[in-house]
Symmetry: C2
Subunit: 345 residues, 2 copies
DNA sequence: ACCACGGGGTGAAACGTTTCACAAGCTGGT
DNA sequence: ACCAGCTTGTGAAACGTTTCACCCCGTGGT
């Protein structure tokens, strides 16, 4: 009921402002009897701290933000859960912002978060390279940890999975199955993960020798719909120019591709092998269980949050660390063939 | 660079505090020349508003929160996206909190949000019935909109989908296919959605006549893992006591059940028909595309956010509204049989 | 010449905390 | 008796905005 604050409480308990504040923040420094009176008053009045005032005075807030590329991608929700666990255990609050792979939206979120003087920031930036806005946050003293991204120009802590290696694993697997014409479905290529996974695949195939061809089909986004679209394009190709295997930058894409291929009358893995990336929970439950490159999603989030809190707690300079996890290939039915049936030559 | 605020800007631009504030909040009331000087100063100093101070003074904040049962459930991420669109269009910020179906965690979130004096709250409460904490927020004047829940005791706006009807649709569909022993997999039953969907199914079967049996298998949560577990239990049943169809409270559960049945050697739909709920994007991409009850997820979020903002903008009393959407049965392969093969009688 | 008016600007108060230097009252050692 | 040292509590300043009453001055009407 009472819209007022500490003052009212103080009056009611017959103590001074400072004492109430002490009860709230350093309960042990207050005599038990007084403490009880104050707590009772708080209860009766239904008093609730005003965070704005507290942080205005204290300078820093206790919320940590995470800005992800796509909230509806299970990969990110798992990362979020990992981070959440750590932040909450430390008594903080994690707010989730969704950039939706849109730089403008990312910018707006960062602006708001900057105004909010968040305690720290976990982010998977939409674009690589210098990031003016992000650097401003850093200059302002807000710890930033890059998630699923090498630290790039920005000298920050980072947590990532080796995407180049992931690409290698996928491509090597397909090459070893005998595929000679492989499609890479992913995009926009400006997204570093996409670029790295492609680069890894390309490098592995080059080393593998035997002139394996990697053809890129760029998509507008990393979504199921985009995958379905790409599959339709591939189905429309004349048989002789059609790849025999597809490596998707993402499980969402792979799931879409799977649907598209089915619509187009191509069977997986008989007519087309398929490899995804992320190994989200739904990959194993897909129409054809998906071979995929697994990333330690939750651990990524947990580690990122830990690094962040560590940096935030360290008053002095802090050595930035880069943690890189190794991805792992999980083979399932979508690549369960001896290889492509040779044709046309 | 400058850690300071408006004061510094004022000095640099050679104006008073009030003028800077006016430039920020009512630009038109300031002469163009002065305005430019101020804006330049802001730029040079890299000044960024301090939200805490602003809201301390102004009383209310511009962030809206949504508390969901499970961030990693695609149903909720879609709801979130809908709400996000509306809130951002109105210049606000949406923070996502995850209760993980844990009342304690929900409580902690609400406490924090109350301290933060959020502008409004979208919530799917973990439990039904009186909700003391929520009522406090309401008393405090914070608009609350219930998502995917009837308004219960609380006289609030609400947005929901008719879960009883959804349960009916699913059960009727199965009964019409000739199933006489149907399992309901879902839980905890304390969750209203679960209860309603079950109630709807039970009611429909009672009306349908013909002594259709609905057996409940309660799960600990609405997750893929819980579903897998339940399926194992069902597989372990002697053939004669085993249901011929399963209705899951949730697609996640259904996906898990599908996996569990496969492991247990039962085929869908030949040996067991399966119906899910939510029609998440992955339902159509499942090993056996899932028959499911579709809900207008994004629209749910959008509408909820609109009601909330409307209430927040209305100073005076505001008539609470309850919007109820109709679910829709989407039939796919997981129920694509003429009915159960008769056995043992 | 005078007044009313309005655009443009000022400066201090207020928002609700936390912090900090300090005071008051005890305890126990000398 | 006296002082040192501790525990408990006090009150005012400060945090960075926004708001509000008010002032200054040029303009146009009389």
């Amino acid at each position: 009921m009472a819209v007022t604050g500490i003052k009212e409480v103080a009056r009611r308990a017959g103590v001074s402002l400072g004492t109430v504040s002490n009860v709230l923040n350093r309960p042990d420094s207050v005599a038990p009897a007084t403490r009880k009176r104050v707590l009772d008053a708080i209860d009766e009045l239904g008093y609730v701290r005003n965070d704005s005032a507290r942080h205005l005075r204290a300078g820093s807030s206790r919320t940590v933000a995470i800005v992800v590329l796509d909230v509806s991608n299970p990969f990110f929700t798992d990362v979020v859960q990992g981070a959440e666990a750590v932040v909450e255990a430390a008594g903080g609050m994690l707010v989730v912002c969704n950039s939706g792979q849109d730089p403008a939206r990312e910018g707006r979120h960062l602006a708001t978060l900057e105004e909010q003087r968040v305690r720290g920031l976990l982010i998977t930036p939409v674009e690589n390279g210098r990031h003016e806005r992000l650097e401003r946050l850093v200059d302002r003293g807000i710890p930033v940890v890059l998630v699923d991204r090498g630290s790039g120009q920005l000298n920050r802590c980072s947590v990532a999975v080796d995407d180049v290696l992931g690409g290698r694993l996928a491509a090597t697997h397909l090459a070893e199955l005998g595929h000679r014409h492989i499609a890479f479905v992913g995009g926009p290529v400006a997204i570093p993960q996409v670029a790295d996974r492609h680069a890894g695949a390309a490098a592995a195939l080059a080393e593998h020798g035997g002139g394996v061809d990697l053809e890129v089909f760029e998509t507008k986004s990393l979504s199921v719909t985009a995958g379905r679209q790409a599959a339709e394009d591939i189905c429309a190709l004349p048989h002789s120019r059609r790849p025999t295997a597809i490596f998707c930058a993402n499980d969402l894409l792979a799931l879409g591709v799977l649907q598209g291929l089915t619509i187009g009358g191509l069977r997986v893995p008989e007519d087309m092998a398929l490899v995804g990336y992320d190994d989200i929970e739904f990959a194993a439950a897909a129409a054809v269980p998906l071979t995929s490159v697994r990333q330690p999603r939750e651990q990524l989030g947990r580690t990122a949050a830990q690094l962040l809190l560590e940096e935030a707690d360290t008053d002095a300079a802090h050595g930035h660390r880069h943690v890189v996890f190794q991805p792992q290939l999980v083979v399932r039915q979508s690549t369960a063939t001896a290889g492509p049936r040779r044709r046309g030559r």
